[in-house]
Subunit: 219 residues, 2 copies
DNA sequence: TTGACAACATACTCGATAGTATGTTCAAGT
DNA sequence: ACTTGAACATACTATCGAGTATGTTGTCAA
């Protein structure tokens, strides 16, 4: 009985998560296309051939949905790079690998990453209603933690003498601008296979490490 | 009489331009802080201690005001770099100079540049009502022309063998991401003098040309 | 001085949309 | 069979903000 109840609960939970994910994907596309405040929940619902009722069944407000998309985007990023951080290799190699993993991730999850970006400067300028503001800051902390992973690898590679920068804040910001670039300028074309995407990513990574003073070649 | 009428007209025109500029500055700050669609014209009016009536006296719509800010931002950019393009010097030196002029310009006119950025991806995603859409495309062409100036210098420096890139579209995008970075991450601090700002600009330029494979030092 | 107009301010309208209240369906449990 | 509740859809309300209509003031020309 406990088992039955639990299995039921799990199945239900799974259904719920599936439904929420579908909503989030539609929301991410809409937010990317027109921005948070220009997007109506009716649009989001229409995109997934549904109605606003479904969204409000799963989310308490528009802001709550936005924050869930934000969180999902950050999770995708962490999952992309964390396995690499544990590898035993020279810092410069780990840096290359982590940068490439990040670029591939942002290309593949572009709408979500765009929402992350919107969330970042939403916090910076204090939009967002007061009640959700707490969670927004929590997500910003997540973003900082993510950024710190890169900062650490940068400092190690700098200590090894493989790269050189003046001000780490500016250097890190510039690197992020560079590897997040595809969020802005990349447009997937019809019939673009995995090879081409990887080539784009490689070029972005090359520019990012060159920016840091690296003069070697790419593997 | 004709002279008197013209002088009056000119003075009026000057007053009008002053008033419009004040409105534009308020609008740029608001658009930067909360985005185009989240910004109400009442907010813009309040920021300049005025009312919506004044704005609608000078502009036919919210979109029209936005486009005027966009255009003003682009003009600031052109004025910053055009004198440099005519200088006689090696392409790589002209590249450095033009990059620095751009960075200094975006730092000094940050709110306007932010609006330019919003305008760019407004076109990309087809927001903006149909009637103003024509002018938006006209402004996008301006933006392309601006970008072409950089592309040209890049190609010359490449021909001289001073820099090296694989795909010029990706390289150019990466350079712009880098030198436009301050629009996003730069926050002016109290008592920050011209020297510090120039140091930030120099570092951005350094990263931008390193990104292109330049291995020399900065002057 | 008076008429006219530019440059606003004030006071409205009206459509869009976030949020809510209520209705419907269907699957699972008893 | 009947109940219950999750997962929606439908129908409504309330607010906010773009745009408009009208009022006010100061200035210049005749």
């Amino acid at each position: 009985m406990a088992t039955a109840a639990r299995s039921t609960k799990y199945r239900r939970q799974s259904d719920t998560d599936l439904s929420r994910m579908e909503i989030m994907e539609g929301a991410a596309l809409c937010f990317e296309a027109r921005g948070y405040s220009a997007t109506s929940l009716d649009e989001v619902a229409a995109r997934i051939s549904s109605t606003k009722g479904r969204i409000y069944h799963h989310y308490g407000s528009k802001a709550e949905l936005f924050l869930d998309v934000y969180r999902a985007g950050m999770m995708m990023n962490f999952q992309a790079i964390e396995p690499i951080l544990e590898r035993q290799m020279p810092a410069i190699e780990r840096l290359k690998a982590v940068l490439k993993a990040h670029v591939l991730c942002v290309i593949r999850t572009k709408p979500f990453q765009n929402v992350v970006g919107q969330g970042v400067d939403m916090l910076r300028h204090g939009t967002m209603p007061a009640n959700e503001h707490a969670e927004l800051e929590q997500l910003a902390a997540l973003r900082d933690a993510y950024s710190d992973h890169f900062r650490t690898v940068l400092e190690q590679a700098m200590a090894d003498g493989d790269i050189a920068y003046a001000n780490i804040k500016i250097a890190l910001n510039s690197v992020f601008m560079c590897i997040n670039g595809p969020i802005v300028w990349f447009t997937p074309r019809k019939g673009q296979d995995e090879r081409e995407i990887e080539a784009v990513a490689d070029e972005c990574v090359l520019y990012a490490i060159r920016l840091l003073g690296y003069t070697g070649d790419m593997p």
